[in-house]
Structure formats: C-alpha cells, structure tokens
Subunit: 159 residues, 3 copies
C-alpha cells in the first residue's frame, strides 16, 4: 500500500467522524447529505448478511427515502428519548472497485437514556462504497452489519 492509499484512511476517518458527530449531536437533517442522491443505506443483521439473505431491518435507496426517515424520526414516531455515542475504529481500506473506494469500519454505539447509565447498544461494522464528488467524499452505499441480534427495544435513529 503506497502513501497515497494510506492517506485515504485519514479522509475516511474524517468522513466517519463527521457522520458520527451529526448523528450523536442529533443533527439528523444533515444525515442524508452524507450519501449520493441515489445512495443506499442498509442496516442488516450479521446472520442475514453472512448467509447472503436480502432481509434487512432498514433499507433505504435514495436521499429522498432518508429524508422521509428523518421526518419520521423527528416528527412522527413516538419513542422514549435517548442519546447515542458512536466510537469507531480507524477505517480499514479494502481494494477499490473501479471508481469506488471500499472501506470497512468497526463501530460501537452506546445508548444513554435520561437518568440512566450508558449501555452498549449496537456493535458491528460499516461496509462502505465511497465516491469522490466536488462536495467531498459521499457514500454510494453504507451497509451497517450488526452483531447484536436482539436490538434493545426498537432501533429509531440511524446507526
């Protein structure tokens, strides 16, 4: 791996950090802009991913669907409030596929409910296809493959 390839890690780390900060600081309206207009966001259990099954907890196929999701989260879904905190490993660079940068990042998301201790909420890995655009790196595809079979209550906010 040459120096330019190595430096890509830094760019992806910065992208991941901005993404995590937007979610954890509850700037949900900023979330769809991390993706291409026709970007895909999928949240899938590891068991289904490993077996190649299409079943996913969440599967959004455009920014428009992501905006609908954000509207649902912030305006219509009734749920108990909680804070999230993403802690991420440095990104692992995978071999590129044509124009697309491929990377994988292990994550842990912690949840804190009012008046309660923080707890492990969801752990897994992001599997990403990233494209360089005039507005910076964007996700063509982000798949969140989670280990946690039992999602504590329901998953409301994006991972």
């Amino acid at each position: 791996m040459n120096r330019d390839e190595l430096l890509l890690q830094l760019e992806i780390d910065q992208l991941n950090a901005r993404y995590a900060a937007a979610l954890d600081e509850r700037r949900f309206d900023d979330w769809p802009a991390f993706f291409l207009e026709d970007g895909r966001y999928t949240v899938q259990a590891r068991e289904n991913f490993d077996r190649g099954l299409p079943l996913a907890l969440i599967a959004l196929e455009s920014r428009g669907m992501m905006k609908d999701r954000v509207y649902g989260i912030t305006q219509t879904i009734f749920h108990g409030p909680y804070y999230t905190r993403h802690v991420l490993s440095p990104a692992q660079l995978l071999s590129p596929e044509g124009e697309r940068i491929r990377a994988q990042t292990h994550y842990a998301v912690f949840r804190t409910r009012p008046g309660d201790a923080s707890e492990v909420y969801n752990v897994g890995r992001y599997i990403d296809e990233i494209v360089r655009t005039p507005e910076g790196l964007k996700f063509a595809r982000r798949t969140c493959v989670y280990d946690s079979e039992m999602i504590l209550n329901s998953l409301i906010y994006p991972i």
Copy 2:
C-alpha cells in the same frame, strides 16, 4: 482539506493516545503536563453543555489546579480502586481559530473493579483547543462532554 491538514489528525491521535495511556496506566502525575500552564480542563454533562449552562462537574483552570486534583486523587480521597480503559475514535479536525487547532474526539471509558467484569463507565466527546509549543502539542482547553447522566458512583479519575 489538504494533505497537511489531514496529517494533523495523526498528531492529535498520538496526543490523545499518550493522554489516554497516562490515565489508564495511572501515571496521574503526568496528566497536568498535557495542558498549557493556564490550560483548562472541564467535565460537563451534555445537557448543560447543549443548553449553554456553565454548570460543570469539574472545572480546573490551570496546571496548578490539576496538580491539586491529582494530589487529592492519589493521596487523600478514600475510594474503592478501579481500572479505567479509554477507547477513542480517530480525532475529527474542526476549523482552526487563529493559532488554535480545534478538534473533537468521541470516547468510551470502561471501568473494571477488582474481581468484577468490565463495564461501560462514561461515554462522550472531547472538545479540544490545542496549541503547538516547543514541547509538542498541548491542550489550551479540553472539555469532556459526557452523555452519561448518571455517573456511576462518583467520578474520581480524570476522563
């Protein structure tokens, strides 16, 4: 973001790693030297931070105050012993303000008490103002904004 700005992430990651190692290896006497002489260290609940309230759990405004704190921790406070372990995301670079480097880093601190399993202790983010000095990067200001409203027992060691 150009290459030199990107490389800053590595310098801050190294600073963060040394800081975390000093605390987790209980070299508390080394801790004040991570700050400028008039550096500020604040530990604040997210709720207060988000509302702009000044109320903080800990607010130290010089190395001298930090040394007093370390003396208190190591010499005078009676408390049950525990180990800490910091796991940090790569640092996120924020736009600089004059001479000051600004960065933010998500953290998880785990606690292990003798004979017990490790547990999530405190999660949140560091919000930092960093200055380049002849002795390397130093914190002009480190604010630890924690999600965890209920601090498990009392917080003894620095975050």
Copy 3:
C-alpha cells in the same frame, strides 16, 4: 515526530484493522499469519503484567502453536457460540528498538451471544513489537494486557 514516523500510525492501524476483521469474521485460519514464524502471542492480566509476573492466561511461542490453538478452537473445544467485535483506538507509536517497531493500542472487545444483547467482554491494550517483512508488517510479539480480572466464562477466541 517527523512525517514518516507519523505515517507509521496508518500502517499499524491497517494491520490492526485486518487483524480485528479476521477474528471478528471468524477467519481463524488467517490469524497465525499475522505473526512471524517464531512470533509470540500472550494474553495476560494487567495485575500480573504490572508486577512483572510471568503468569499468563495464554502464551504461544510460534505460528505452529497458534495453528494448534486454532485447531482446538474450531475442531475440538465444546463451547457456546458467540460473536466478537473489536473496536480499537488509533495505534500509539512508541520509540523503536533497533529493527522493531513498537506500538500500543487500546482495545474493547464486545461479545454477542445468540438471542442476547451485546456486552463488554474484554478491554485492555495490545503491546506490540512489529517487523517489516516482504509480506508486510508482522507481529514479532503481541501481548494483550487485559483489565478485566473476571473473564466472562472462559476466553475461547484470540483477543
């Protein structure tokens, strides 16, 4: 620390990420190849490490011993299945010793058992001696020093 030294962090982060991915994706047969032929892998409680005691939970002194271990894990040991997920801090570079790169990395390993929530399994730090070979960076020595005195049940998979 000059630029070339800083860039080493990226190489070690990539090594750590590949290592963690191999374990968490259960590609255990790939694990010994992260080490030199006479590489050493040790898992030791922090208490023993800090006191300089030799007692270790696991001490393997060659790839051959690691392969035996993998055989044991995958073929002979009866145990309840679980998933692991490593989340790692960026690597901290330590001063080199001759030809060997020295680094230390804080880790958290989460465990997920079928139908259960994810939990903190083991936290600590890797203390590494790394050698550059024609096949890339390899561990001459990886010591996993864990804080968690009470290992939840028994530790089956490598850390």
